[in-house]
Symmetry: C4
Amino acid sequence: MKRSKIGQFRAALYVQLEPKAWGYGLSPLNWIICVLILLSFITAVLETEPTVSAGYETVMRWLELGFSLVFLCEYVARLWCCVESRQYKSALLGRLRYSMTPAALLDLVAVLPLLMGLLGVQTLLLRFVRLLRIVRLAKFGKFSRAMHHVVLAISSRRYELSISMAIAVSMILLASILLYLVEGDVQPEAFGSIPRALWWSVITFTTVGYGDVYPITNLGKFFAGLTAIASIGLVAMPTGILASAFSDAMQKGRVEEKKYGLYSSKNSKID
Amino acid sequence: MKRSKIGQFRAALYVQLEPKAWGYGLSPLNWIICVLILLSFITAVLETEPTVSAGYETVMRWLELGFSLVFLCEYVARLWCCVESRQYKSALLGRLRYSMTPAALLDLVAVLPLLMGLLGVQTLLLRFVRLLRIVRLAKFGKFSRAMHHVVLAISSRRYELSISMAIAVSMILLASILLYLVEGDVQPEAFGSIPRALWWSVITFTTVGYGDVYPITNLGKFFAGLTAIASIGLVAMPTGILASAFSDAMQKGRVEEKKYGLYSSKNSKID
Amino acid sequence: MKRSKIGQFRAALYVQLEPKAWGYGLSPLNWIICVLILLSFITAVLETEPTVSAGYETVMRWLELGFSLVFLCEYVARLWCCVESRQYKSALLGRLRYSMTPAALLDLVAVLPLLMGLLGVQTLLLRFVRLLRIVRLAKFGKFSRAMHHVVLAISSRRYELSISMAIAVSMILLASILLYLVEGDVQPEAFGSIPRALWWSVITFTTVGYGDVYPITNLGKFFAGLTAIASIGLVAMPTGILASAFSDAMQKGRVEEKKYGLYSSKNSKID
Amino acid sequence: MKRSKIGQFRAALYVQLEPKAWGYGLSPLNWIICVLILLSFITAVLETEPTVSAGYETVMRWLELGFSLVFLCEYVARLWCCVESRQYKSALLGRLRYSMTPAALLDLVAVLPLLMGLLGVQTLLLRFVRLLRIVRLAKFGKFSRAMHHVVLAISSRRYELSISMAIAVSMILLASILLYLVEGDVQPEAFGSIPRALWWSVITFTTVGYGDVYPITNLGKFFAGLTAIASIGLVAMPTGILASAFSDAMQKGRVEEKKYGLYSSKNSKID
């Protein structure tokens, strides 16, 4: 059956737009979109810095408008092309079902700043979401496999990691209660309540240690020292758990690959 | 043998209260108790923050009284029901023996703030202990197994971890002696004695680094730099030990499960 | 075939200069060169410290000139000798090909400060490059093997490490956007734009925590606390990945050694 | 052959003093000595703190004299008893050889503060050395085995750890050169020379981050951010190496134990 010229164009566009249809690596069109996403994000970041954006406010607003329009076109194109896939064949229902997939919703979110910018709403976080679309597009074989390993490792030890997190939270709470009792009267601004002492406790346990608050009494320093030493365990436990998890996950991953021939370099062009 | 209505109620209550009797997951009653424990703790924490509790002091005192009374009722109920278990069958001696178990003592501690609050004693730490009761109640199958792994991993390497701790303590002591000798005369307030230098030493070794004290002489900075570099080993050693420990513990755990069918999802309702 | 005296000298010099020709360990001449490289670097470092170099400026300039001349002689000698190797036998073309090898180019860079010093250009970074020549010369068998393990471990997990790095960068960006939105108006100097908030975000995530900027609002402290806790994962993930990678790399390395007899202590004198 | 009363006493004293002769655990006499060593160290530490030692200077000097005399008696006793061992049987030569063993020299060092205190020399570091004697005495079976594992793990990866240390030192040097070039003119006090920038570099790389010096220019902050991110690798690499090393060391250790029956709980009373 010969297809019309528009049909041929739609099929070609579909292969360009859909990572699964293109197979291995990024298609030229998706490369351009990824670069535009990055540029759009960098523009959004630089826009906030007055020493850079001063005098270029109008330029940047137009740039942002341009990026948003491109993403809008991309969204419409994806919606138009999606019927090429067997999954979403029906012209209306297929497109509706496609537009409800997480990937399509993510693409929609990338267009939202256009609308919200017109309404004068802060759109920075939405523009950050656009970055996630790079992940959606860049389905390189080897990165997918590595991502699979990382997810496998973390999820296989989710209970151990939860327990290590629960122990950490308990110790952070205990340390803040102790320091509140010991230093609360001496430094009411910093340790005058448990929520205030919590700030110190978290910053000390994670070994960030800004130095904006620290104990000054001898007993407070003693407990703070114990807290600091306990923080070694706080880091060592999840690290140890993850280390053993990655060992297992990679062995499992290798076995799976041999068994099912997953992640083979040969990918069919159309899913 | 037909049981009286009270007997039937006691049996039902026992299943609700005793995690082992309920089997997998949390019973509805224990869910409520866990939420109350959390609420009681959050109330205790917020009570200490004047900007939050201002004007609500009476409300919070009544809340705390309410929580304590609920926990008192719960304690009495547990004591009344415990004879349902085969272990504590005898009406008096069984209950006495039950009340001496760590779990029952922990429940008793949760009631203590009621009494001590009347006497005007600081009860914050006791209220923190209440949080531990969540651990006692939440005996989810998968968390228990993970907890088993964590305990197995740490206990199987307790000697290696002790040695790594001993090396760490020695290095902390050595660093504080060196800095005391080098900087003691220049900064008497910060390094004028070994106990004072210890504060710097612990905060540097654990890489917290508040910045309230730091060496200013060249020799002091040299030793402090060495201390900071040595701190990498301080973190790397226990982490490495724990990483290998978790690998072993999980393999052992898996073997045990296969052998003895531990942690199977089928649990008998009455122990 | 009897060689001329100059030919014999060139052959002897070649064995002294070329690590592969000498075989195991460092030849006496290369020992001297390594020491000179170190001395040249230490001179360059001390030259920048006015309290040390004051009054010795001329001495240090002459020292630097001396080191550079020695390295020039060494470069010329290496170029003269390289034809002893089978690879670069031809007098002109062999030498030209040798001078294009990375090792020879590195040696040339070590001579450049001589020229650039005459032109008055800052040469500190070039002198730092000289240090790399120690790595080129010190091809000890056991260090090479260890280096092989390290490279194998890192490269075998490059995708997993990239993903962990991508997650880290995303979280750093997200934290900086959040803090910019929350603290931007309160502390415009520190959080007034995303690039400014990025500085805080990187220093917090890596747990360095200078304390020059930190949030002061309650919401800002809440997000900063979450950021600090997330930083544990930032360290734990690559560490866990590397831990499992080193386990694998060393096993592979051992298998390879047994198979191919790599890194055997017997090395032929001339490659 | 019946031994004289003095001979019997010497034999009994030898068993009390010599950890190998006592076998498993600490003998009562060595327990007392360990406690005295700890007390002597604590006295030395507290002596330096004026708010504690004020008014007790004479008491503390007498205490120190007492401890030193006890350690002197102990040293003489050990020298007298050592001939009970087969190794040092000869009355004069055996004792001389014994006095040259590292253990005996360590005991001698513990006595030195007595002499040097009379001469008015600073003896703090020597008193710290006394703590090491606890290690020499406390040869518990399980700790020895764990120590064996730790030493085995670190020594089996000494080349990999050296390389990771060399990479770390190179990055610290590079960071200090970059910051010196970028910030040298702006903050001459903190970055005016490479040795000064090194202080910043070490404190940042090890994530201590006191905050006494930090970059203020944009380019300086950029390089400092890169340095901070690179520091994650600095910690992750040795940790990963050690983690795989401990896995191997414990497997090897277990194999050795099965093979040679090392560290069995049955120890002969006299070596």
